[in-house]
C-alpha cells in the first residue's frame, strides 16, 4: 500500500523533463538572440545608437556685405526666423502641420506641399524649413509651445536685406530660395538656402556665399539639444565694394521717379560705373522670401516693365547721339574732312523720298563741327549716303555697338547694328539706299543700350580705348578694343561736343557749368513713324507712347577727373529738356556738392 501510494505520489516524470527542457530552450533562444544583437550586429547597432543621439546640422554663413565705393552699406544680413520640422522627432505629423497652419496662417495644403517637396532632400533628423519667415509674434507662440510639439524648431539664419531696395535692384539683383535645378548642379546647396538669382548676387554668388558651418549636438528623444559642439565655424562670404556712388545713384533714381529710363555714370579712364539707374524698378527685398504666384505675375506683366534692366536690357534707337559714331566713320574712312561744307536746306531728296532735317528752315552751310553742335540731319544724310551701310556698320561695331559690353550682369542685350547680311537674313530683302540715311541719324534698325552709349562716349575722351564697364571697386581697367580713329579725329568730335554745350547754338547748352569742361550731345529718337496729325500736335498733346525718346550723352572734365554721364528717358520728347536736367544735376553733385561736403 505504502509502496503503491508512493508510486502514485511521484511527480510526473515527463512533466519534470518538460520543465527542464523548457529552461534549456529559454536559455538557448535568448543567449542566441543576445549574441546576435550584441556581438554579431553590435557594431551596426552602436552606429545606430550614435546616430540616435548625435546629430549634425548646418550653421548658416552670412552672405558677404555689399558696400558702395565710399563704404556705404547697400546689402546686409539680418536674422530671420524660419520654422523647421525635424521629421524624426515629430510624433504626429498631420496634427503638427495643422497646428503650424493655425500658428502661421499658411494654409494646410500648401504646408503639405512644401513638406512633400522637401522631404526627399532633407535628412529625417535635420530641420526641414516649412515657413521661411516668421514674425516675432509667431516666434513667441512657437517657442512657448514647442515643448508640446516635438520636432518643431525655430531656425535662425541670416537673411539678405537690401537697404535701398528698388534703387539698386537692377545692379544687385536679389536672392531667393534655391530651386531644384540649382540643387542638382551645386552640391554645396541645401534645401532652404538662399542663392543669388539676379544681378550681382547671381554673378558673384560663389564669392558672396561663404561656407556653411557644421554643428554637432547631443539630443534626447524629443530632439532637445543637450550639448553642442561646433565642428566647423561658418565662414562668412566675401564683402564686396562696388564702384557705385550711392549719392549719384540716389540722384539718378530721384530724377527718374515716375519716369521710365536709365542713367549711367561712368569713369571713362577705367570703365568703373558710378551710377547705374534703371526706372521703374522693383523692390528686390520682396524676392528673398519668395513672391506669391499672384505677386510674381503682377510684377512680370506690369506694363511699365519694372523687371526690365533699362541700362543693359532695353534697346533704343540712338537718334542723334549716334552722329558722333557716323562722324567718326566719315573721318576714319576719309569720306569727309573737317572743313567740308554741306548745304542744309532743311531736307534732302533721295529718289522719290524726301528726308527732312529736324530744323524746318535748315542749317544752311554746315561743316562737321556745326553738324554735331546743331545736330544737322541733312549733313548726316549726305555722309551716310557716301559711307554706305558696310562702312557705317563696321565702324559702329568697332565703337562697341551691336554687341554686349561684357559688364558683369546677366542677360545683357547686344543691341542691333544692321548690315546687308542681316537685312537679307531678317527680312529677305536687299539693303535700300534710303536706309543708309536713316542709319546715319541713328534711326531705322539701329538699336543701342544706354551702357553702350556711355562706353562709346568714354572712348572718345580716353584715348580711344573701349573699356569693359566695371561694377566692382578696385577692378583693373579691361580694354576690349580701340576706336579706329586717331587722336586728332577724336579731338575734332570732342571739341564739337564741348561746343554743343558752350556754343551759342549748341543743343546741350543747359549743361554749361563754370570751371568744368563739359561736352554733350542730345538725341531725340523717334519711336514710331510719326503721322502728320501727331506732328502738328503740341508736345503735351502727344499720347505718351508716341512721344520720342530723349537722350543726353555727355562728358565732363576737370583736371584729371573725368566722367561720362548718359541719360535716356523713354518718351521724354526732347533730349535737352527730357534728359538734360538730371545730367546737369549729376555734374552739380560731382563738382560742387560733393566737393563742399569734403
Amino acid at each position: 500500500m505504502s509502496l503503491y501510494e508512493s508510486k502514485t505520489q511521484q511527480p510526473p516524470k515527463n512533466g519534470l523533463l518538460l520543465l527542464q527542457g523548457l529552461i534549456l530552450l529559454l536559455f538557448c533562444i535568448f543567449a542566441l538572440r543576445f549574441w546576435y544583437l550584441q556581438i554579431h550586429k553590435g557594431e551596426y547597432f552602436s552606429e545606430q545608437a550614435r546616430n540616435n543621439q548625435l546629430r549634425q546640422d548646418n550653421l548658416y554663413a552670412p552672405r558677404g556685405l555689399i558696400r558702395d565705393r565710399n563704404g556705404e552699406l547697400l546689402a546686409v544680413n539680418e536674422p530671420a526666423y524660419a520654422l523647421g520640422i525635424v521629421r524624426e522627432d515629430c510624433k504626429d505629423l498631420d496634427a503638427t502641420l495643422k497646428t503650424v497652419s493655425e500658428w502661421t496662417g499658411v494654409d494646410l495644403p500648401k504646408l503639405k506641399k512644401v513638406f512633400k517637396k522637401s522631404r526627399r532632400r532633407v535628412k529625417p533628423f535635420e530641420p526641414l524649413i516649412l515657413v521661411p519667415n516668421l514674425t516675432f509674434e509667431q516666434v513667441a507662440v512657437i517657442e512657448a509651445n514647442s515643448l508640446y510639439w516635438p520636432g518643431l524648431e525655430v531656425v535662425v539664419r541670416p537673411r539678405r536685406k537690401y537697404l535701398q531696395g528698388a534703387l539698386l535692384s537692377h545692379v544687385l539683383g536679389y536672392v531667393s530660395e534655391v530651386d531644384e535645378a540649382e540643387l542638382e548642379n551645386d552640391s554645396e546647396l541645401a534645401v532652404g538656402d538662399y542663392v543669388g538669382k539676379q544681378g550681382l548676387e547671381y554673378v558673384l554668388e560663389k564669392r558672396f556665399r561663404g561656407v556653411k558651418g557644421r554643428r554637432q549636438s547631443e539630443v534626447d528623444a524629443t530632439g532637445r539639444r543637450l550639448k553642442q559642439r561646433i565642428l566647423n565655424p561658418p565662414k562668412a562670404g566675401e564683402d564686396i565694394d562696388l564702384s557705385i556712388d550711392l549719392g549719384l545713384q540716389e540722384l539718378g533714381g530721384k530724377f527718374l521717379e515716375g519716369k521710365a529710363g536709365a542713367v549711367v555714370v561712368m569713369n571713362p579712364d577705367n570703365g568703373q560705373i558710378l551710377a547705374f539707374v534703371s526706372a521703374p524698378s522693383y523692390d528686390n527685398n520682396s524676392f528673398t522670401d519668395g513672391l506669391s504666384q499672384k505677386e510674381w505675375v503682377a510684377l512680370r506683366d506690369d506694363p511699365r516693365t519694372p523687371l526690365q534692366n533699362r541700362v543693359i536690357q532695353s534697346v533704343y534707337p540712338p537718334g542723334s547721339v549716334f552722329k558722333m559714331t557716323v562722324a567718326g566713320a566719315g573721318l576714319h574712312y576719309g569720306v569727309v574732312k573737317t572743313q567740308d561744307i554741306v548745304y542744309c536746306p532743311g531736307h534732302m531728296q533721295l529718289g522719290k523720298y524726301v528726308f527732312r532735317c529736324w530744323k524746318k528752315g535748315g542749317h544752311g552751310e554746315t561743316d562737321l563741327e556745326k553738324s554735331l553742335v546743331e545736330s544737322c540731319d541733312v549733313y548726316y544724310y549726305k555722309l551716310g549716303k557716301r559711307l554706305g551701310v558696310d562702312r557705317m556698320s563696321e565702324y559702329a561695331f568697332a565703337a562697341g555697338y551691336g554687341k554686349p559690353t561684357g559688364i558683369a550682369l546677366p542677360h545683357e542685350k547686344s543691341g542691333l547694328i544692321p548690315t546687308r547680311k542681316w537685312k537679307k537674313r531678317r527680312y529677305g530683302e536687299i539693303w535700300h539706299p534710303g536706309e543708309n540715311l536713316n542709319f546715319s541719324i541713328g534711326q531705322g534698325y539701329t538699336l543701342v543700350t544706354p551702357l553702350q552709349v556711355a562706353r562709346s562716349i568714354s572712348s572718345l575722351i580716353n584715348g580711344g580705348r573701349l573699356l569693359r564697364p566695371q561694377l566692382l571697386a578696385g577692378e583693373p581697367a579691361e580694354e576690349q578694343g580701340v576706336l579706329p580713329i586717331n587722336d586728332r579725329q577724336r579731338e575734332i568730335i570732342r571739341k564739337a561736343m564741348i561746343k554743343t554745350v558752350n556754343g551759342s547754338h549748341g543743343t546741350a547748352r543747359r549743361l554749361r557749368m563754370k570751371g568744368v569742361v563739359i561736352g554733350g550731345k542730345t538725341g531725340t529718337a523717334q519711336v514710331v513713324k510719326l503721322t502728320d496729325e501727331i506732328k502738328k500736335m503740341k508736345d503735351e498733346e502727344i499720347p505718351y507712347k508716341y512721344r520720342d525718346h530723349a537722350w543726353m550723352a555727355s562728358f565732363a572734365e576737370k583736371g584729371t577727373e573725368r566722367y561720362v554721364v548718359v541719360c535716356m528717358v523713354e518718351h521724354g520728347l526732347h533730349g535737352s529738356s527730357g534728359a538734360g536736367p538730371v545730367v546737369k544735376a549729376i555734374y552739380n553733385y560731382i563738382f560742387k556738392e560733393k566737393k563742399e561736403k569734403k
Binding site: 505504502s2 502514485t8 505520489q9 511521484q10 511527480p11 510526473p12 515527463n14 512533466g15 519534470l16 518538460l18 520543465l19 527542464q20 523548457l22 529552461i23 529559454l26 536559455f27 533562444i29 535568448f30 543567449a31 538572440r33 543576445f34 549574441w35 544583437l37 550584441q38 556581438i39 550586429k41 553590435g42 557594431e43 551596426y44 547597432f45 552602436s46 545606430q48 545608437a49 540616435n52 543621439q53 524624426e88 515629430c90 510624433k91 547631443e218 539630443v219 534626447d220 528623444a221 524629443t222 543637450l226 550639448k227
Partner: protein
C-alpha cells in the same frame, strides 16, 4: 508543529531564496540606472528604485507570510478562494478604477489592488488541486473540466481589458496541464486543432493589439509608432556589445530614446549597460532560478505541492519568455513585465509571495522523506 520548526528551515530551498533576492537586487540596481536621465547638467534620478525597494520589503513580508502556513491548507480553501476571486473580478467593471484607459484596479484606499494579480495565484491553487488528483495523463473529459474552470477568471480579466494577464492565466494553467501530461491521442488532436484557433484570436483583438502584431512583423513600417519600441530596444541592447557601456552609461536609455525603460523594457537598459556578458549572467540567473523550482517540484511531498511548484514555474517562465522575447524583438509588443527586473508594485509583491509558496513546498518535503 510550530511554524518555526528547525527542520523546516533546514529543508527550505535556500538556493531559490538567494536567487530570488539576487534577481530582486539586480532589478533595483537596474532601475536606479533606468530611472535616471541626463539633463543638461548632472543627473536626475527619479524615485522608482526607492519605491521598488519599498515594494520589495512588502514582497518579502508577503513571502514569509506565504511560508508560515502549511501549503496543504490551500487545497481545502481552493474553491472558496476561486469564488472570491471571481467575485472581485466581477466588481472591477462596476466599481473599478480606470487607469490608462483600462479598468483593472480596485481602490482599497491605501493602495490600488489588481484582482487580476490575485487571479494568477488562484489559478495556481485551483489548477494544482484539480490536476493533482492523479498523475495519469489527462483525458479529454478532465481537460475540458480544468480548462473550463480556468476560462472563467481568464475571460473576465481579458474583458477588462487586460489581454496580457488573461493570457498569462491561461498559459499558467496550460503549462500545468502539460506538466501533468495528456493522453497521446488527445495530444495529437490538440496539436492539429490548436494552431487553427490562432486566426480566431485575431478577431478578438483590439486595434492597438493588431497594430502591435503588424509592427512586429515589420517594425520599419512605422518607425515612430508601434515599431519604435522594438527598434529602439534593439538599438539599446545591440549597442551594448560584449561588455556594455557600464552602469549608468547607457546612452539610449539615459537620453530617453528607450520608452518604458523602467517597466517593460528594463532588460534593454540592462543589456545596454552590461553588455552580452551581463545579459548572459542575468539569463543564467533566471534559468537557475527556474531550475530550483523544478527541483522543488520533483522533491515535493505530494502531487499538490509538486503542481503548485510547477505552476509557479510557469508563472515565471511565461513572463520571462514573453517579456524578453518582446524586448529582444522576437515577439510582438505585449505589456508583460520581466519578473524582478521591471518596476511594478503588485507584480513584485506577487512574485515574492509565489517564491514564498515554492519555498513553503520545499520546506515541508521532509514529512514524505521520513515516511
Amino acid at each position: 508543529m510550530s511554524p518555526i520548526d528547525r527542520r523546516l528551515l533546514i529543508h527550505m530551498n535556500w538556493f531559490l531564496l538567494g536567487l530570488a533576492a539576487m534577481l530582486f537586487f539586480v532589478g533595483v540596481l537596474n532601475l536606479y540606472s533606468a530611472s535616471g536621465f541626463r539633463l543638461e547638467q548632472g543627473m536626475s534620478v527619479s524615485s522608482f528604485y526607492q519605491k521598488q525597494l519599498v515594494w520589495g520589503l512588502m514582497g518579502f513580508a508577503g513571502m514569509i507570510t506565504f511560508m508560515l502556513f502549511d501549503y496543504r491548507h490551500l487545497r481545502t480553501i481552493a474553491w472558496p478562494l476561486f469564488w472570491v476571486t471571481v467575485i472581485l473580478l466581477a466588481c472591477v467593471p462596476v466599481i473599478g478604477k480606470t487607469i490608462y484607459g483600462a479598468r483593472r484596479w480596485l481602490d482599497l484606499g491605501f493602495f490600488n489592488f489588481q484582482p487580476s494579480e490575485m487571479a494568477k495565484i488562484t489559478i495556481l491553487v485551483i489548477g494544482a488541486k484539480i490536476l493533482s488528483r492523479s498523475s495519469d495523463p489527462l483525458n479529454i473529459k478532465n481537460l475540458a473540466y480544468v480548462v473550463g474552470v480556468g476560462l472563467i477568471p481568464a475571460g473576465m480579466v481579458i474583458s477588462q481589458p487586460d489581454l496580457g494577464s488573461g493570457l498569462n492565466i491561461l498559459l499558467i494553467l496550460g503549462g500545468m496541464i502539460l506538466y501533468r501530461g495528456l493522453t497521446p491521442k488527445l495530444f495529437k488532436t490538440l496539436a492539429v486543432v490548436g494552431p487553427c484557433l490562432i486566426p480566431l484570436g485575431w478577431l478578438f483583438m483590439h486595434d492597438y493589439q493588431k497594430r502591435r502584431v503588424i509592427s512586429f512583423m515589420n517594425p520599419a513600417s512605422d518607425p515612430l509608432g508601434a515599431g519604435y519600441h522594438i527598434i529602439q530596444s534593439e538599438i539599446a541592447i545591440g549597442s551594448g556589445r560584449v561588455w556594455g557601456k557600464g552602469f549608468l552609461g547607457g546612452t539610449q536609455s539615459q537620453l530617453r530614446f528607450l520608452p518604458e525603460k523602467h517597466t517593460d523594457f528594463a532588460i534593454a537598459v540592462f543589456g545596454e549597460e552590461w553588455g552580452f556578458a551581463g545579459a548572459m549572467a542575468l539569463l543564467s540567473l533566471f534559468c537557475v532560478f527556474l531550475y530550483q523550482m523544478v527541483v522543488t517540484a520533483r522533491e515535493a511531498k505530494d502531487l499538490f505541492g509538486s503542481y503548485l511548484a510547477a505552476g509557479v514555474f510557469f508563472y515565471f517562465f511565461w513572463q520571462i519568455l514573453i517579456n524578453m522575447g518582446m524586448v529582444l524583438g522576437l515577439m510582438p509588443v505585449v505589456g508583460i513585465p520581466l519578473p524582478f527586473i521591471s518596476y511594478g508594485g503588485s507584480g513584485t509583491v506577487v512574485n515574492l509571495c509565489l517564491v514564498g509558496l515554492v519555498l513553503n513546498v520545499s520546506m515541508r518535503r521532509y514529512v514524505f522523506k521520513q515516511g
